[in-house]
């Protein structure tokens, strides 16, 4: 992973402008102050390891997302950060102080200065919106509390809703109350546990923009947890992809998407296909054609003679009509996503790849097709499994 990766995948390009002001220091090689550090943290429940030897730094002002499938340990990691779980091994540091670890007294969640937005929002049902938001403001007098609550309700666009009970609010409004409540005590770091998973799809897309704006306006450092790769890629400065209790890769969304360091990351982020590739003396050879060595990212001569798997995403490939003699493979499945089709193609050598086409280009299942590589960027590759 390095700054040498200039091309960004199309799917995240529109976010670049938004991210631009923070681009400095947003990558994993950035140099902002570390707010929270996990160092070699392992968490066991009985004999089961939920998190294994995990280390990560969260830097001032950034929004980092822990992304992974369910059961990968991402929520446990978040709870370790919050102090809702104790690490079995390793240390947790908050603003340079040890708050958990072998040689440090465990700092309880209430003494850590962390805010948490829970998956189900966890609004106190016996308190109204104002009382919920004011719950963490234990040090302020009444007047200061009122002012702070007003400010926060303004921030989350809920001014005038203060007297409502939580169950009178829509999902999106509940989420904003939860956000305001967790921001009220001005936490050093805000932790969001699958914050959008309880919302319906349309609201989810709107709320993640809104939440992002609120977080930026509040200038808070935040860690969120999700299994939704689109959400992770669109709101975060950095993404940490987790699998089986470990972090597989940390980096800017574009870098991680485009240059996944492992097959797992490649498959988890977007649809992935792999081309069996032989690296020859002068060209690389695949079943759909031969290409320059430059096509492989980070190519070096020492790899000549090896057989590897090259990552191709649906937008890297195009299928064209062919007869049986010119075809590279056959359509096995057609996935209609609205504006586009994704065709699954089984190549003659058994490789499974996918091609994305606009909705006007139609192929039928079992139709023979030629497959053409149209990628305008270097491709990631992995040792053959």
């Amino acid at each position: 992973m390095s700054e040498s990766n200039h091309t960004r995948p199309k799917s995240t390009r529109e976010n670049d402008a938004e991210r631009a002001p923070r681009a400095e220091g947003a990558g994993d090689d950035a140099t902002g102050d570390v707010v929270l550090r996990l160092d070699g943290v392992t968490k066991r429940y009985g004999t089961e390891e939920a998190v294994t030897d995990l280390s990560i730094d969260i830097r001032e002002g950034e929004l980092l997302t822990l992304l992974g499938p369910s059961g990968c340990g991402k929520t446990t990691t978040l709870r370790l950060m919050a102090g809702l779980e104790r690490p079995s091994e390793g240390t947790v540091e908050l603003n340079g102080d040890h708050v958990a670890g072998e040689d440090a007294a465990f700092v309880e969640p209430e003494d850590r200065g962390v805010g948490v937005v829970f998956q189900d929002f966890a609004l106190f049902p016996h308190l109204n919106v104002r009382e919920n938001v004011a719950f963490g403001l234990t040090d302020l007098d009444d007047e200061a509390t009122d002012r702070r609550v007003d400010d926060l309700l303004d921030l989350v666009n809920l001014a005038g809703m203060g007297e409502r009970a939580p169950d009178e609010l829509s999902g999106g409004q509940q989420q904003r109350v939860a956000l305001a409540r967790s921001l009220a005590p001005e936490p050093d770091i805000l932790l969001l546990d699958e914050p959008f998973s309880n919302l319906d799809v349309r609201l989810r897309v709107r709320m993640r923009e809104e939440v992002r704006e609120i977080l930026k306006e509040a200038g808070v450092t935040a860690v969120s947890v999700t299994h939704d790769q689109e959400e992770a890629l669109s709101i975060s400065e950095r993404v940490a992809v987790m699998n089986d209790g470990r972090i597989e890769q940390v980096g800017r969304p574009g870098d991680v998407f485009e240059d996944p360091e492992s097959r797992f990351v490649a498959s988890f982020l977007g649809q992935a296909g792999f081309l069996s590739t032989h690296i020859g003396e002068s060209r690389i050879e695949t079943t759909i054609g031969t290409y320059d060595h430059d096509l492989l990212r980070g190519y070096a001569d020492q790899y000549v003679g090896a057989t590897v798997d090259t990552l191709v995403r649906p937008d890297d490939l195009r299928a064209t009509p062919a007869n049986e003699s010119t075809a590279d493979g056959h359509i096995t499945k057609r996935q209609y996503t609205g504006p586009s089709f994704v065709y699954h193609v089984r190549l003659d050598n058994g490789d499974e790849v996918r091609c994305m086409h606009n909705h006007a280009e139609r192929f039928e299942v079992d139709e023979p097709v030629a497959v053409e590589l149209v990628a305008d960027h270097a491709l990631a590759w992995y040792p053959t499994e």
Partner: protein, 535 residues
């Protein structure tokens, strides 16, 4: 992350673990205390003299055993025959005024059985209201109410609501889409009811039958009034005669064995004790259309309501206006009511305090010990009040004479008896407080104690209040333990009613009996407000 993981995670907290242990220890202590009367009864029975064992297998005792089994079998069967159709009619059909009939079908539960019994004895006995009304018509004798028939009729009419309520809750919890799925698979609405709904409701029905059976097994007032020998009546007579030391204890043990058999039978039928008990569910449109039977169908709930509510109330009112002989020694005093309120309030507070650790432990831990503690706290459900009372009398006279016939002893008996009610209410309240709420409070700079105070307590408060109210109201009408354990000169509503009833001054009992029915109706309201039917 599963709830279990979280619980284990929580348990790993040092402080939390210590707190957890303290609560577990406290809960175990309370559970043992609650079970102690039964243990004492066993000890006492084992130490009975040999001739008492001989009495146990005497023809008289065997007759009592047979009588009791016949009664509970008959009452269970008739309760199902009344309760289940009523539940199906009110939940699953387009019966006119369904809500009204739901209330009338549940209401007989608020009339204590012994009051129902002497209302029936008074109405249908020789020279009773019914017999008197028939005389002008030339009918000079009616079949006697006394004996098996009267006992079964009274028990059935005043305990079938258990079956009705649990069946209703079971029906409401059945997923409506399952019925619709059956309909699309070519079943008629009746067929779907039989093949899909009833099998799922079976555990609920059997749970209701269990309550009915336990209640009829435990009550001695009704068989006493109906002159029919059952276990409870026999135990009461033996106890009062001090005839055979140990015999009472042995009889009680034998009764507990019958109770155990009933419990085992019930768990066989229901399998998973929790199934069908989920209550909840919303009102649904009748899925069986009664057609031209719609109006005639109302005759069934109406007839049951007339018998089980109309008759006793009419008799009580009639007594009140009857100018009968009054006896100065039986005058009803306000102090009787105050005594009732006093012991009931004490019992409510004590049961609530005892239920807190038990309920909290049962709700927050899934260790085997917590399950055992939870189950043991239900001993009071199964042990009849009279057996419990007698066991405490033995214990008191043998070990702590200072406590014998004192208020603390009586209150302890109530706590053992009604702890399950408090635990049920309190536990469900704790379960409704999501872990994340207290976690949220922790991350908002509240210590565990502050979080408990500001979040958990306000959220469980209504449940605690309901639990306490329930114990208060049921203590008010408790007869059996009260009769045996009441401090000398400490007369309460129920002991007053029992006394005047035994002496035959029925008219004196009218007002206190109506007060009691009112009190019971209140406890029913508390239950219905909580939308939970596990009485």
């Amino acid at each position: 992350m599963t709830v279990r993981d979280r619980l284990i995670g929580l348990a790993e907290f040092g402080d939390e673990r210590r707190r957890h242990r303290a609560i577990a220890a406290l809960a175990t202590c309370f559970a043992l205390l609650v079970a102690s009367p039964v243990i004492w009864m066993v000890v006492r029975a084992l130490g009975a003299p040999p001739d008492a064992f001989a009495l146990l297998v005497s023809p008289g005792t065997l007759q009592v055993l047979v009588n009791s089994v016949v009664v509970i079998a008959a009452v269970s069967a008739f309760s199902v025959l009344i309760g289940v159709p009523l539940a199906v009619l009110t939940v699953q059909t387009d019966l006119p005024f369904g809500r009204f009939w739901t209330v009338t079908a549940a209401l007989p539960l608020v009339i204590p059985e012994y009051i129902g019994a002497f209302a029936f004895a008074s109405a249908f006995g020789p020279h009773g209201a019914f017999a008197d009304a028939l005389v002008p018509l030339g009918v000079t004798s009616i079949p006697t109410i006394y004996g098996l028939q009267g006992t079964v009729i009274v028990f059935t009419l005043f305990t079938y609501p258990y079956v009705f309520l649990t069946t209703r809750a079971g029906l409401l919890s059945v997923d409506e889409t399952l019925v619709e799925a059956a309909r699309t698979l070519d079943r008629s609405s009746i067929g779907a009811l039989r093949e899909i709904v009833l099998p799922q409701v079976l555990p609920a029905i059997s749970a209701g039958v269990l309550l009915t059976a336990l209640d009829s097994l435990a009550d001695f007032g009704t068989p006493a009034i109906m002159h029919y020998d059952t276990f409870m009546r026999q135990i009461y007579v033996q106890y009062n005669n001090y005839a055979q030391p140990g015999y009472t204890a042995l009889l009680s043990m034998e009764l507990l064995v019958v109770v155990a058999v009933v419990l085992v039978l019930e768990s066989r039928v229901s399998g998973d004790a929790n199934a069908g008990f989920s209550g909840g569910g919303s009102g649904r449109p009748g899925s069986v259309r009664l057609g031209r039977w719609r109006w005639p169908a109302t005759l069934f709930p109406a007839a049951v309501a007339v018998l089980a509510i109309g008759v006793p109330l009419a008799i009580l009112v009639k007594w009140h206006y009857r100018t009968g002989t009054t006896y100065a020694g039986f005058a009803f005093h306000l102090s009787d009511v105050l005594h009732s309120v006093e012991v009931s309030a004490l019992a409510a507070v004590a049961a609530l305090v005892a239920s807190l650790p038990v309920a909290y432990y049962a709700a927050r831990s899934d260790s085997p010990l917590s399950t055992v503690v939870d189950r043991v706290s239900y001993v009071g459900y199964a042990v009849p009040g009279l057996v419990l009372g007698i066991s405490l009398v033995y214990f008191g006279t043998a070990f702590v004479p200072a406590l014998y016939q004192t208020l603390p002893m009586l209150v302890f008996a109530y706590v053992v008896r009604f702890l399950p009610q408090a635990v049920g209410s309190v536990r469900s309240s704790f379960l409704q407080v999501d872990d994340t709420l207290t976690e949220a409070a922790r991350t908002l700079e509240h210590s565990p104690l502050a979080a408990f105070r500001r979040v958990t307590i306000p959220l469980v408060a209504p449940g605690l209040a309901a639990g306490a109210a329930l114990v208060f109201l049921t203590t008010m009408k408790e007869l059996q333990a009260t009769l045996v354990l009441q401090p000398t000169g400490f007369r309460t509503l129920v002991t007053y009613i029992w006394k005047v009833q035994e002496a035959g001054y029925y008219s004196e009992a009218a007002i206190p009996a109506l007060v009691l029915v009112g009190v019971s109706a209140l406890s029913m309201l508390v239950l219905l407000a909580r939308e939970r039917y596990d009485v």
